[in-house]
Every structure is written in C-alpha cells, then in structure tokens.
C-alpha cells in the first residue's frame, strides 16, 4: 500500500511530522545523571564479613540472571537434543561450533580438549552477560526500567581476567615444570644482565595482560551504556519533541552497534584467553 505513495509525498509527510514535533512545547525540565546509572546501591542489605560487603546490589542480580539463563538454556538443550535440530538447537550448535573450532581449535595447538571447557564457559558467560545488559530490566532507581550490565563493572571483569591469569600460569607450570617455565621467560641467546632485565619486563607484561583483559571488556560496556544514557539525557535536556525524535533515532542506531560490540567483546575475551593459555603451554625449546 505504501508503494503507491509518491516519493515527494513521503518527504513532505516527514517534514510535516518534524515541524509538528518542533511546534509542540516541551515538557518540564528533567534531569538524568549519567554517572548515577553505574552506581551500585544495595538492594538487600547484608552484614559485612571481614572487609567483604555481602550486600546484594544490581551487579549481583545481573550475574544471577546470566547464570540462570545459561543454566536453563543448557538444561533445555540437554533434554531436547534431536537428530533433526530445530531453530534453538541450531543456534546452540552454532555457538558451540564457534567456541570449539573458531576460538579454541584455531588458536591452541595442544591442550585444546583440556582447556575448551574453561574458554567455552568464559565465552558464553561474557556473551550472555553482555547481551542481558541490553535488555531493559527494572533495577534502576525506584525500580524503573534501566540498562546495566554485569560486565560494566570492573570487579566482575577483573575476576574473569584473574581466572584466565591463574589458569595461564597453572597450565604453563603444570606442562613444563616451574623451572623450565620461568626460564623460558628469558631468551636463550641474550647476554647475562639483559636476560634478567627481559625477565622483569616479561613479568610486567604479564600483569598488564591482566589489566588490559579486564579493562577492555569493562571500558567497552561502560562506554556503550554511557553513550545510550547520554542520548536519553540529551533528549530530556533539550525539552523539545523534535530533538527527542532525532536523538531516539540515533540511540536506536547505537543500540544496534552495541549488540555487535557485545558479541565481539565476548569473542575477543575468549580468544585472548585461548592465546594466553596456549602461549604458556607452547614454550620454545
């Protein structure tokens, strides 16, 4: 039906709608504090155990939701495996195929079977928590709908990166023995003083892997959510329905881009974990 309308009529229609929106007076001024979206206020207050605060906040709830989604999906796919897969099973098989062959199989030479469970689990967990961050859930202030992701929290991403860090050195030491493993941090042909220097530099680079692995995920998720929040806040500040319409169009574009970023960041986290663990296993002799 829309095809019969000529193009100039559509253009005029759009212009009339935009002018109409511009003429409607805006509502009263409202405020949206972008930084407040990332504040963690306890939902359920629980006592401290030593220095650890056990209170349940937004991030904890999001982690629970991610865990629940993964558990339910795994149980459902486990119970309903068919030889003629449906849509859900095809998607799950594609995810498994990507993690097994696309990430672990293509990066790790040996130990792929040993370390696939960890890397696959990390991939799925990061992916699901990133994607859940794009679903509006009622955990913002006053139980309003809001965006937040468990991975937009440095503590969560740092914990995930610490797992990779610990497993990297555990794998390297177990495969090569502690003496051999740390000896391989120094190049063979280098002169004596330089070798110790390179050893220290290598140690520093190991620490910075931890920093970059955690901060990458955290920064990408925070930046995406902050941009979305800024677009919403701008619509409130301009107090005009025209600006709001245009900004909502822009935020829809950014939302689509954020879906892409969520998948890519999970992929990069998993593939870098695989590279680090594979690198610790494969030492030059």
């Amino acid at each position: 039906m829309l095809k019969r309308v000529p193009r100039w009529a559509k253009l005029i229609g759009v212009i009339v709608v935009l002018v109409g929106l511009a003429l409607i007076p805006g509502r009263a001024k409202q405020q949206l504090e972008v930084a407040k979206e990332f504040e963690l206020t306890p939902i359920v207050k629980l006592p401290h155990v030593g220095p650890v605060d056990l209170s349940i906040n937004k991030a904890v709830v999001y982690l629970w939701i991610a865990t629940a989604v993964i558990t339910v999906a795994a149980l459902v796919i486990n119970r309903t495996l068919k030889s003629r897969p449906g849509r859900f099973q095809l998607a799950m098989e594609g995810l498994y195929e990507l993690a097994r062959n696309g990430i672990v199989g293509s990066v790790m030479k040996s130990g792929a079977d040993t370390w696939f469970p960890y890397i696959g689990a990390a991939f799925v967990f990061v992916l699901v928590s990133n994607v859940i961050g794009l679903v509006p859930l009622p955990f913002a202030e006053h139980n309003q709908l809001g965006f937040y992701a468990a991975t937009a929290n440095l503590y969560v991403t740092l914990t995930l990166a610490l797992f990779t860090f610990a497993f990297t050195h555990y794998a390297g030491i177990k495969k090569n023995g502690p003496v051999h493993y740390f000896k391989n941090w120094m190049p063979k042909g280098a002169p004596p003083v330089l070798r110790e220097f390179i050893f220290v530099i290598h140690g520093v680079s190991e620490i910075f892997r931890l920093v970059s692995l955690s901060v990458r995920l955290f920064a990408n998720m925070v930046a995406g959510h902050a941009i979305l929040a800024v677009f919403f806040a701008m619509a409130l500040i301009f107090q005009s329905y025209l600006a709001a319409a245009i900004l909502q169009g822009g935020s829809a574009m950014i939302y689509l881009f954020e879906i892409f970023v969520a998948v890519i960041q999970a992929f990069i986290f998993a593939i870098l974990s695989a590279v680090y663990i594979g690198g610790a296993l494969e030492q030059e002799h």
Binding site: G102, F208, V211, S212, V215, R216, A219, F267, I268, V275
Partner: protein, 77 residues
C-alpha cells in the same frame, strides 16, 4: 586554573591523544586483514581470528590511556 579543572583537562587530553595511535593502528590492521581476505578468500577464517587477536593487543594501548583518565578523574587529588 584550579586543580580540579586541570584534572579534568588532563583526563580528556589523555584519552583523546591516547586514542590517536591505536585508531591509526586499528585502521592499518583491519585494512591489511581485508586485503589479505580479498586476495585469498579461502584462508579468511584464519586471517579473521588473527585479526581479532591483533585488535585486542592494539586496543590495549588505548585502554591504558582510559585507565589514566579514570585515575585522573576519580583517584588523583
């Protein structure tokens, strides 16, 4: 200029200037990877995997600038 203004200015400058290098690097990296894929489409899977590893390492440089900016805003006195 008081200290808090200098802090915010420094944070913005560190993020902005720190993003220049990784931006150029990512452009070169992805451009070369696409060139390789266009030349040899049969190894595109391998090239893509290695491209993502390279992206991860290149991005880390910008992330250090981001960390410095965060430290300047929230930690530095």
């Amino acid at each position: 200029m008081d200290a808090s203004a200098a802090k915010l200015l420094g944070a913005g400058l560190s993020m902005g200037l720190g993003a220049i290098g990784p931006g150029v690097g990512l452009g070169i990296l992805i451009g070369k990877a696409l060139e390789g894929i266009a030349r040899q489409p049969e190894v595109s899977g391998d090239i893509r995997t290695n491209m993502f590893i390279g992206i991860g390492v290149t991005e880390a440089v910008a992330l250090y600038a981001f960390v410095v900016a965060l430290i300047l805003i929230f930690v530095a006195k």
